[in-house]
């Protein structure tokens, strides 16, 4: 089992709005400061309605001044974590974990291409800073919906100059992953963070180019899909249950709340432990995990309940609650 996080009290030292819906929070923890490595995140204790829950946020820099800086995007359809984080003003108290890293940056490679989509810039920014400081050969491709959504764009531009490419989808631009990968040196590594569609596309292009799988590094926050985040209903005929999944709850949480016995570990769509069988879906299944392959997702036989959903309607499933 993963080590229990090392929780400590903290306060908000400062806040700064980077874009209309991305806010930078500087968190000052009590006690010994554990420096975050590039790509790492902290967990934060949040209040969602009346419930205590936790969320993970990538740390955007090396924290040399003893602060954890995180950037939180306010999502109208979020599970409530971002609303709580946006309610915190300077001086507010909160609880955070020491940093952990699921998206480690390896040093000493001959070339790095970093690709960030939207709020996926957060871990990528910490990597870009570290690589630029180390004098590494790097390139950063950063996409967002509008120009105003490009948090950190000005400072990254100053830091990286020509090595930064900004992509604004509202202006008709798209990340050309094929060209991006094709122009990378053979020993180069690709670090990718953003919505699940970007990750899946990256994996496909990488494999097609015959690149070694271990040199593609990626992280997804499990919070973005191909479809809107809407309430839907889970039906489990064998158990005689019909469970509403609100837009701000995961299917896994809603099922556990309803008393369905579930196993799970990562809660971010990587390990596959919480997967259940799909019997029928009223619409497209929004697979937001990185556990299933493209083929498995297309077959729609199972889904990861910690991140995946249905954009409304009824999803009929079977769980492990049966003799065999």
């Amino acid at each position: 089992m993963p080590a229990a996080p090392d929780w400590r009290r903290a306060r908000i030292a400062a806040t700064q709005d980077l874009t209309p819906d991305i806010r930078l929070l500087a968190v000052e923890p009590e006690g010994a400061f554990v420096a975050p490595t590039p790509g790492s995140h902290i967990q934060v204790g949040v209040q969602v309605e009346e419930r205590a829950d936790t969320r993970s946020y990538s740390v955007v820099d090396a924290g040399r001044d003893g602060l954890y800086r995180i950037a939180v995007k306010r999502l109208p359809t979020s599970r409530g974590g971002s609303r709580y984080m946006w309610s915190l003003a300077a001086g507010a108290r909160l609880t955070v974990s020491a940093p952990a890293n699921h998206f480690e940056l390896a040093l000493g490679r001959s070339h790095y291409t970093l690709v960030a989509g939207g709020i996926g810039i957060t871990p990528i920014r910490s990597m870009a800073l570290a690589l630029a400081e180390a004098g590494a050969d790097l390139r950063l491709i950063y996409a967002a919906r509008t120009r105003a959504d490009l948090a950190f764009a000005d400072e990254l531009s100053t830091l990286l100059g020509e090595r930064l490419q900004l992509v604004v989808s509202e202006e008709g631009e798209r990340i050309d992953l094929d060209a991006t990968v094709a122009t990378m040196p053979a020993c180069g590594e690709l670090y990718l963070c953003g919505p699940i569609g970007l990750i899946e596309a990256g994996k496909r292009v990488w494999a097609k180019a015959g690149r070694p799988a271990a040199s593609l590094r990626f992280e997804t926050f499990g919070s973005s899909g191909r479809y809107a985040t809407l309430p839907f209903t889970v039906r489990i005929p064998r158990l005689g249950l019909e469970i509403p999944v609100p837009e701000n709850r995961t299917m896994l949480d809603a099922m556990e709340d309803a008393g369905v016995a579930m196993i799970h570990d990562c809660r971010r769509g990587e390990c596959g432990l919480c997967a259940v069988h799909i019997l029928d879906a009223a619409g497209p299944v929004d697979h937001r995990d990185v556990f299933f392959s493209d083929e498995e997702k297309a077959a729609n036989a199972k889904l990861c309940t910690c991140v995946s959903r249905l954009p409304g309607g009824v999803l009929t499933i079977d769980t492990a609650d049966r003799a065999a």
Binding site: D65, F103, L107, C271, V290
Partner: protein
Amino acid sequence: MADQKPFPLNAWYAAAWCHEIRHELAARTICGKDVVLYRKSTGEVAALEDACWHRLLPLSLGRLQGDEVVCGYHGLVFNADGRCTYMPAQKTINPSACVRAFPAAEKHRLVWLWPGDPALADPALIPDFHWNDGTEWVGEGGTFYSLQCDYRLVIDNLMDLTHETYVHAGSIGDEAITSAPFEVTHTGRTATVTRWMIDIEPPPFWKKQLGREGHVDRWQLIYFQAPSTVVGDVGVALTGTGAPKGDRSQGVNGAFLAAITPESETSCHYFWNFVRTFRRDDEQLTRDIQRAHVNDGKGVYDQDHAVLEAQQKALLRHPRLPFYNLNIDAGALWARRLIDGMLAREGAPRPPRVEAAE
């Protein structure tokens, strides 16, 4: 840091002799970190955390498949960078699945490992241990793996050679060591103890090596590089032939080499060698000198081994710290001061913070 150990992590430590690392898995514990070492087909040494990402079984219990390590439990495969390249019974690989890869480098016939922040692992910081290269100086040493004492006790031992008089009487010990004056100097990373014994009767070991009659000038120039290597330039030359002024031509010169690697807080790996510049082609002498140091409990280093482990036991039984220091401990105290400085820089509490106007 609250849980800081008594050894710096941001340093190169000897982990193995180069010849010990082949295309097979070798386990070592370095600074409390379990590491598995192996030589890739390219000749480079790989060093990974010795615990599978999945269920923590030591990877050293698995096997090599090409240059990748296959866990001996469920078959997960990790490449030399520590990244998982295979997981059983699934089509994808968890993106976060990896084990730590440690910076490793080969120099001076040893494999050096950096257990701390890899971003700081500059090969230029590998201690100067050129005496061990097997070129100008010759000798064959060995390793006391898992010597049951704090690595600093070995440094204390080597930085103060008055102990030779009592621990190594009959070989290199001599009353003259305890009466000769010595000088201790230091820089930001090194400490040096300089002792000259002028016009003395040579002790048995040196008398034999010199092979000439008469009084000698004996030197012990002990050079410590933080955090844990010690090189002792030692020898004798006929008195009056100018050795203290730099002319060692009428003498014999050796060097004891020690790369001491913390294993845990109370154990260490002691890589040692005794090298010389005289009779360099005499392989029998090389073997004899090795046997004089380690010989089934009877060598001079076996004597140190017994003292050091007994001392560690006593320290644990009598937690009366700090123990007392004497004038003779000046070299050891400078060495410890340099180690403490490294520890302080590593464990520095958060830097002073300016409240940013954000």
